[in-house]
């Protein structure tokens, strides 16, 4: 089985790119990587249900814009928030199996044509439709109920939620991943518009246009193609009951736990040895539940930990060095790829204030859809020459 390396990554800053179409964004992000190598496989992550995307056939259109060889394998993925990670893992498996030599994984989202409520409605597609018929409940509503259940179980005040958002925005500011000039305090975050009590608008990552591209190859040629490649040490995925309320404990994300422990075992590593964690946080509460399920923090104590500076850049471990989706903006479907890009920046000292992460030897990326009914874990390590 071939070993796989992340040769190089590229990302467009999440924003409202009014003047660019979905294919334009994909072209802009992939072009710098195509100068390094001509991929024979394209793995394209784009949530087709997001109005404004090209729906079916997005991957074929992007392959056309990138002028890939006609013999290229082209695959499209659509799995909600976890689309990027699903595409990444499939690309890794293709290289491991020798089906593809060099793979380009592109995650792209175009939502700026939509109003803000419509952008959030795209998240409703992640819900189990059969169980939701006639309920008129939205993804945001379910998040609000889950947050209320969490706060009540541990006797916490809603104001504690502000610390997590503030933490992510501080990391995003330190790493230059956001356009914000100042990271708001936890108290300021709590003053934001209520979206699903006790959650405010700040508890949900802003849905923006953006794109991320990753070039993968066999480790044997990685140093010829990239300046500081990363080795893919372990990949794993797991699933859970799609209806969050039908789980034994809705506050336990067992898919996150299973996928992470299997990926770490594959990498012959452990959570304790992992200094950098990138955790999906389309909704702030899901980051809390992930960390508590993984055992990084104790149940009910994550928010107080964040209040004390836990997880900031320079801390051990560092959680979301670029602030995750809350900090840098949520590119729907490309979250798992953005995490890999963040690890690449951290390991190569890109951006600023990343000295602690530059010392890290391995990183764990956890990406999942909505309420973690599917979860993907990726362990990346520094590659030695």
């Amino acid at each position: 089985m071939n070993q796989v390396a992340v040769v190089a990554t590229s990302s467009l800053q999440s924003a409202n790119h009014w003047g660019q179409s979905l294919a334009d964004l994909a072209l802009d992000v992939a072009e710098p990587l195509l100068d390094r190598a001509e991929p024979d496989g394209l793995f394209c992550a784009s949530t087709s249900r997001a109005p404004g995307s090209m729906a079916r056939g997005t991957s074929v259109v992007i392959a056309d814009r990138l002028a890939l060889p006609t013999t290229s394998r082209v695959y499209g993925f659509d799995d909600g928030d976890a689309t990027g990670a699903a595409a990444l893992h499939t690309a890794v498996a293709h290289i491991q199996a020798g089906l593809v030599k060099t793979a380009l994984v592109v995650g792209v989202a175009k939502v700026s044509d939509l109003s803000e409520p419509d952008r959030y409605r795209t998240l409703d597609e992640a819900l189990d439709r059969d169980a939701e018929v006639g309920t008129e409940l939205t993804y945001l509503t379910h998040c609000g109920l889950l947050a209320d259940l969490y706060l009540r179980r541990y006797g916490l005040n809603a104001s504690a939620l502000g610390h997590l958002v503030s933490h992510n925005l501080r990391n995003a500011l330190s790493s230059g991943a956001t356009q914000l000039k100042l990271a708001p305090s936890a108290a300021e975050v709590r003053k934001d518009v209520k979206v699903a009590s006790p959650l405010t608008r700040s508890d949900f990552a802003p849905l923006l246009d953006g794109a991320v591209a990753i070039l993968l190859s066999d480790t044997k040629v990685a140093w010829d193609l990239g300046d500081a490649p990363l080795e893919v040490l372990g990949i794993s995925a797991a699933r859970d009951t799609a209806v969050v309320w039908e789980r034994g404990d809705p506050l336990c994300l067992s898919a996150v736990q299973t996928a992470s422990s299997r990926a770490l075992a594959q990498a012959h590593s452990s959570l304790a040895a992992t200094r950098l964690l990138q955790i999906e946080n389309a909704c702030s509460l899901m980051e809390v539940l992930s960390l508590e399920t993984l055992g990084v923090t104790r149940p009910g104590q994550t928010l107080s930990g964040y209040a004390d500076g836990f997880g900031l850049i320079g801390g051990l471990p560092t959680i979301n060095s670029c602030g995750g989706a809350i900090g840098r903006g949520h590119v729907l479907g490309a979250g798992g790829l953005a995490q890999v890009h963040d690890v690449m920046l951290a390991f190569t000292g890109g951006g600023c204030s990343r000295s602690a992460e530059a010392l890290a030897e391995s990183a764990l990326c956890v990406s999942f859809s909505a309420f973690a009914s599917t979860a993907f874990a990726t362990v990346l390590g520094r590659m030695k020459k």
Partner: protein
Amino acid sequence: MNVVEAWRSRHFALRREVLLCPECGHCSRVRRRRCPSCKSRRAAETRSLRVDGQVLACTDSGMLVERLDQLSDRQIAVLLEVEGMRLACLVADSDCSRFADLHEVPMRLVLRRNRSSPAGSADAIEYGVKARVSSTGAPQEARVKRDSLR
């Protein structure tokens, strides 16, 4: 609205029918090959849930972002525990404007017209299962009214 989809879910809407695992008693609204709780492959049995439940969690939610008035499209949703099954649903419109805090309030499942079917619409009228304060919970209802006056 999707008329056929609503028709498919009529058993739950009209009789609160759910699927019960004969091995472990796990209740579900959807059909699966195996029970997600005990992994049993025995065929699930149909059962009608009782109407009374207890509120585990509640939220005041809606697409308020662009209107900023905190009232438009306001929805109060609750997570009810009914016979050991957790069910998330909206609070019936006629009741919800009065509610401030529904924690631990006994509520009852009822069939109500959905918001997606406004009065005067030419489309078919859609109904869904919602929650309302239980008539047996008079003291709690009084407390809710008192809370809403704060």
